[in-house]
């Protein structure tokens, strides 16, 4: 159960190696005891993430989960909830391939869409169902500013995130009155493994800054948060840009 300080006692991280998700877990762990379920594809990275959290005092479980295989999600999510109530779930998985490569490889393009959108829809629907039964819980969905007005250089990833943002807002409305809350996180460029080697745009941020913003938004009970905050007016501006101008953006 969330306590009076809105600290979760248990959290599920879908995308168990996500640096943003792990930063959120570490932040809550610093505030009190925490049980963490890391759901992800089995890998050494996942084992290391579990070991790190355990060393920091968390009670950690690993559940095999592949965002790209929605047919397996029901069983995987069932395993995530088998250990008791889940107070906070973070949908943190994502895939950001090089767009030019993906445009030459339709399979990779489809995989980008299915991980970032279809997989998240499947996980979101299942999380909503499980949490509605328990009558409480917070679903944190890590979307992206890239979904606000996809630019030419990242429209593939951006289009999936645009769908995810729309889905998440709809899900939040649908869950009104169920005791389950949804937090939509729109992050700008975050320094992680996923973005390593990319050119750094303005307003870049860190996993820790995202985690801090998420913990604060969960506390305040808000439904969406932008990281950094300035990403919001920038996104608004992007939305207003005439197409002719947008085309010339990188």
């Amino acid at each position: 159960m969330m306590d009076g300080l809105r600290r979760p006692q248990s959290m599920v991280l879908l995308g168990g190696t996500s640096e943003l998700g792990l930063a959120i877990a570490r932040r809550y762990l610093a505030m009190g005891p925490l049980r963490v379920v890391l759901a992800g594809r089995p890998s050494r990275l996942l084992e290391e993430a579990a070991a790190d959290l355990a060393a920091a005092g968390a009670q950690v479980e690993i559940v095999p989960f592949d965002a790209a295989e929605p047919a397996t999600h029901e069983a995987a999510l069932g395993a995530c909830f088998a250990g008791g109530d889940v107070d906070l779930a973070v949908v943190a998985f994502g895939l950001l391939p090089d767009q030019d490569t993906a445009l030459r490889d339709p399979a990779l393009a489809v995989r980008t869409a299915s991980v970032n959108y279809t997989g998240a829809v499947s996980a979101g629907v299942l999380l909503a169902r499980e949490m509605t039964v328990q009558g409480h819980g917070v679903i944190v969905v890590l979307s992206s500013v890239a979904g606000e007005r996809p630019r030419p250089a990242n429209f593939l990833y951006g289009s999936a995130k645009a769908g995810l943002t729309a889905f998440t807002r709809g899900l939040a409305g649908h869950l009104g009155g169920t005791g389950v809350r949804v937090l939509l996180v729109r992050a700008g460029f975050v320094h992680t493994r996923m973005t390593a080697g990319l050119s750094v745009p303005p307003l870049a941020t860190t996993p820790d800054a995202v985690a801090e913003a998420v913990v604060d938004a969960v506390w305040r009970g808000s439904g969406d948060v932008w990281v950094p905050r300035a990403a919001r007016p920038v996104a608004l501006l992007l939305r207003l840009l005439p197409h002719a101008v947008l085309r010339r953006l990188p």
Binding site: M1, G4, L5, M31, G135, H136, G177, V180, G221
Partner: protein, 435 residues
């Protein structure tokens, strides 16, 4: 499907709310799903004690009849949903009063039993459960049992936070009362030593409480006792037992509620600015005993995020730990508008009763995550001192400390396992603290 929260306005959870007669409640218990059933009274516990997310919550407040009242012996049989306010209005004019009154009259009798509440006269009168002679309890098999102090299940039910069953009815023993007025003596005291001495040296029959100003290292000791007839204001002397409850002032709605905070806190701490060293006054009983009831919904003044009250007790010998806890609280990152110290007398009748022979401190904080390190340090200090936190107030205790704080927990769990093997009675508090 209803969203419910506690008095401290923590994150609401959804449950199915039912109410009705014994048969209807028994049906709900027998048909309980995996998320279980829980009785709820006025919802005045601060945390999640009266919530049962995803399960069934039995709203008991419509069951508020007085079933019998022996005016000669001072014995009364009531339904569990009766509030103390309604009880007082019925028995005070007849010259009787419950021996134990908590800080608000809006709790139900069932809730007062489930939390085994105490008053400002605990050393003298014990806790609420000490004056309950029998309880009708609806247990997990859907049958009602009449329990007396000979039954171990009653010891688990008093202070058991509703986890043993549904209190349907109770028999209470009342104390005679000459007037519905209270004589209060407030004395400004500098230093913790003086306050502790003042709280220790209370004459039998007197209530005692100290409000502290943690920054200034001083406080006000308030002693109170039922007024004698000659102390009652002349205009009321013809009818000294009339119950004069003031009409409560409404708290402004949420966006504006914060505006009432200085007024509320000011009213509660009015005496901290006491110019003279001693003030004596005679007040109607409800005014004297329930100062915060004068503003309905006063919990709203802490805004959307709510308030967190941390109340603990440490053994009487642990004065050093008490002083240390006070220093910690005074250094809280969010400020402490209300700080109340009392002396408790002896262990309560229940396995999970809060009271023990010692000092109890209650601190109201505006809830904020920045309190996490402070609460962790307080929990550790209280547990190490052999003390405990009050479950009816709790919204943030580290569950790992519970077995040390409540040695009766093992026996409580055994009895619960015996009477409710399937775990029909559940609450969010029990989930959070693994009770």
């Amino acid at each position: 499907m209803t969203l419910l929260t506690g008095w401290g306005r923590m994150e609401p959870t959804r449950s199915t709310v039912l109410s009705g007669d014994d048969e209807r409640l028994a049906d709900a218990v027998r048909g309980a799903g995996p998320r279980g059933v829980l009785a709820r009274g006025s919802g005045r516990s601060y945390g999640d004690a009266a919530g049962n997310s995803g399960g069934v919550v039995l709203d008991m407040t419509a069951r508020h009849r007085i079933l019998s009242f022996d005016r000669a012996a001072g014995l009364i049989r009531v339904e569990a949903g009766l509030t103390l306010d309604a009880l007082l209005r019925a028995v005070v004019p007849a010259g009787w009063c419950p021996p134990v009154l908590p800080g608000t009259a809006h709790v139900t009798v069932g809730g007062a039993i489930a939390a085994d509440v105490h008053g400002k006269n605990h050393a003298d009168a014990g806790s609420f459960g000490d004056h309950v002679t029998s309880v009708d309890l609806l247990t997990a098999d859907g049958t009602a049992h009449t329990l007396t102090h000979r039954d171990a299940l009653l010891r688990a039910t008093m202070g058991g936070m509703g986890l043993t069953g549904v209190v349907l009815r109770a028999d209470l023993r009342l104390r005679p009362l000459d007037t519905a007025w209270v004589t209060l003596v407030h004395r400004r005291v500098d230093g913790l030593r003086g306050l502790l001495d003042g709280l220790s040296a209370v004459a039998p029959g007197w209530h005692a409480v100290a409000r502290l100003d943690p920054s200034a290292g001083r406080g006000v000791l308030s002693l109170s006792a039922p007024a004698r007839l000659r102390e009652v204001p002349t205009v009321h002397r013809a009818e000294p037992l009339r119950y004069l409850a003031p009409r409560p002032l409404p708290c402004p709605p949420l966006p504006l509620a914060g505006l009432a905070r200085p007024r509320l806190v000011g009213a509660a701490n009015r005496l901290l600015g006491l110019g003279r060293r001693t003030v004596r006054e005679v007040r109607p009983l409800p005014v004297a005993m329930f100062p915060l009831d004068r503003i309905t919904g006063w919990n709203r003044v802490y805004g959307r995020s709510g308030l967190l009250q941390y109340q603990f007790v440490v053994p009487a010998s642990a004065e050093a730990e008490l002083a240390e806890a006070l220093r910690m609280v005074a250094g809280a990152p969010v400020g402490v508008p209300l700080l109340v110290l009392k002396r408790l007398g002896r262990a309560g009748p229940g396995l999970l009763s809060f009271p023990m022979d010692g000092w109890t401190l209650a601190a109201d904080f505006p809830a904020h995550p920045a309190l996490a390190p402070l609460l962790a340090r307080l929990d550790a200090l209280v547990a190490a001192a052999g003390g405990r936190v009050y479950l009816a107030k709790d919204a943030g205790t580290d569950p790992r400390h519970l077995p040390a704080m409540y040695p009766g927990l093992t026996e409580f769990r055994r009895l619960r396992g015996h009477w409710d093997p399937a775990g029909v009675f559940r609450s969010d508090l029990a989930r959070r603290l693994s009770l």
